[in-house]
């Protein structure tokens, strides 16, 4: 029951989060922008469409969307949102969460290479370039958080409410990594389909219809998971355990509010900075890496 509730929460809210970010961005640029619910319409339209699959595509191409969506859904179950009588929360820790997300990315990269289109291969190689730089920083941030609390279990971490310097530095490293992983502006641009600059879009260019919808949904889910992790570090609150109706209402409101705050920060940042050249991304993620090291040092010092 609680598992279903958590899944419903993630699937229901994550497209809205994406729509909200694009709405805020457009409003900041003095444009009207599309409706906040546009991602839902897109998903509904894509699910009802038939799809075209290249005749040279192998089973990897056909299987990948299901692997990607199941990895995203599994990851969203491991996050401690509702731990009240939830059997799955102790199934995996912080590292398992990252590895499960990495599995989805691995298959996505294979699928990009699979149909042998030039864009797919380019997108895959760029994605591996970015993620090979992003992952060390991500792991260092996670190590810092784990050292701070003496545990890699997300549930245990979420039950200790503290805020300290090492956590803030780790959260800022995590934030930079999140910008890269969710293909936000300094690294990639979600809004454009200009062939030469795209990374994520280039990989999934061959997909259409239902499979594209699955991949888009899993991208929304991944974004929400990462935002939730950052929000959980910066604004620590206990995971849901209340039974009272009003309590759970307030809990839900605060849960959504802090994720939206992170979304607001991301969208303001996206409007105010310019996209980097691809090879500047190494500098950007190198900075995240150094922040991760600083976070680990601080955690060892005990601040």
């Amino acid at each position: 029951m609680t598992i279903l509730l958590q899944l419903a929460l993630f699937i229901g809210v994550s497209p809205f989060l994406s729509g909200l970010i694009s709405k805020i961005k457009n409003n900041l640029r003095m444009r009207r922008g599309m409706s906040v619910f546009q991602p839902y319409y897109n998903l509904a339209k894509l699910f009802s469409k038939s799809e075209v699959i290249s005749e040279n595509a192998s089973w990897i191409f056909k299987l990948t969307p299901f692997v990607v969506i199941s990895s995203a859904l599994t990851a969203s179950l491991l996050v401690p949102v509702i731990i009240f009588s939830n059997p799955l929360v102790n199934a995996g820790d912080f590292l398992a969460l990252i590895f499960i997300l990495a599995l989805g990315r691995f298959f996505l990269v294979l699928a990009g290479l699979d149909t042998a289109s030039s864009f797919g291969g380019m997108g895959s190689s760029r994605e591996m370039f970015i993620s090979s730089l992003a992952e060390p920083a991500l792991y260092l941030a996670v190590f810092a958080i784990s050292l701070r609390f003496g545990s890699t279990s997300l549930v245990e971490i979420s039950q200790m409410h503290t805020l300290s310097a090492s956590l803030i530095v780790a959260a800022s490293a995590l934030f930079l990594v999140t910008l890269a992983e969710t293909s936000r502006i300094p690294v990639d641009n979600q809004e454009t389909h200009l062939e030469l600059t795209m990374i994520h879009e280039a990989m999934v260019l061959e997909y259409s219809g239902k499979r594209l919808a699955l991949i888009e949904l899993s991208a929304y889910l991944k974004q929400m998971i990462l935002f939730f992790l950052i929000a959980g570090i910066i604004f620590p609150i206990a995971p849901f355990g209340a039974v009272n109706f009003t309590q759970s209402f307030f809990w839900l409101a605060w849960f959504l509010a802090r994720i939206f705050i992170i979304g607001l920060i991301v969208s303001v940042l996206e409007v105010s900075v310019a996209k980097m050249r691809l090879f500047r991304a190494a500098d950007f993620l190198g900075f995240a890496f150094v922040l991760g090291i600083v976070a680990v040092i601080c955690a060892i010092l005990g601040v």
């Binding site: 300290s164 803030i168 530095v169 800022s172 500098d283 190198g286 900075f287 150094v290 005990g302 601040v303």
Partner: protein, 211 residues
Amino acid sequence: MQAIILFGVLISTYLMVIAKRSTSLIRAFRYQSFCLFLATLIIAFNEKQLDLYIVAGLLFVIKVLAIPRYLYRFLNKIKANEDLGLFINAQLSLLFALGFTYLAWVFARRLIVSDYALAAIVPAAAFFMVLIGIFLMIFRMTALAQIIGLLAAENGLFLLASTVSGGMPFFVEIAIFFDVFVSVIIMGFFIYRINKLFTHIDVNKLSRLRG
């Protein structure tokens, strides 16, 4: 709380190290000064001294507002190349900066004898800022980077003075601020002259004389 602001200082100093263009270097300096302003404000609040409040206000006015604005305007005026000219590329500089962080920490631990490890954090951050200031002065080619490096080192000394001794005497502090501001203006004027004479501000090429 103070530790968090100190890490703001640390991050902005790292930003200075990876900056490749003059404007981003000045912006990073502005962030650093702003973090320093907050730290001073907290010290003033803890020690409840009116002097320190005034010093914090001066810090904000001079180092956050006046000097960066002056340098921006100045850059516009001389229309110099935006490129800072890195002897060591940004990635390697970051590694150097990490090494300096460790060095500063070890040095501060030796200097401040205390069982309480956190007591050494503020001096460590101050030494780190001084080291990075000198690093910027050595390994960046343009004269602007040397001004900023000097200012960053001065920021570090200010932090050290205001935490270790609870602030220097008030008039000394004001005199130092005045000195810094005047020296920035004079250095700016020098750069202006150099730029006019040599049509660039690359310090590396200045050893060759032009008759």
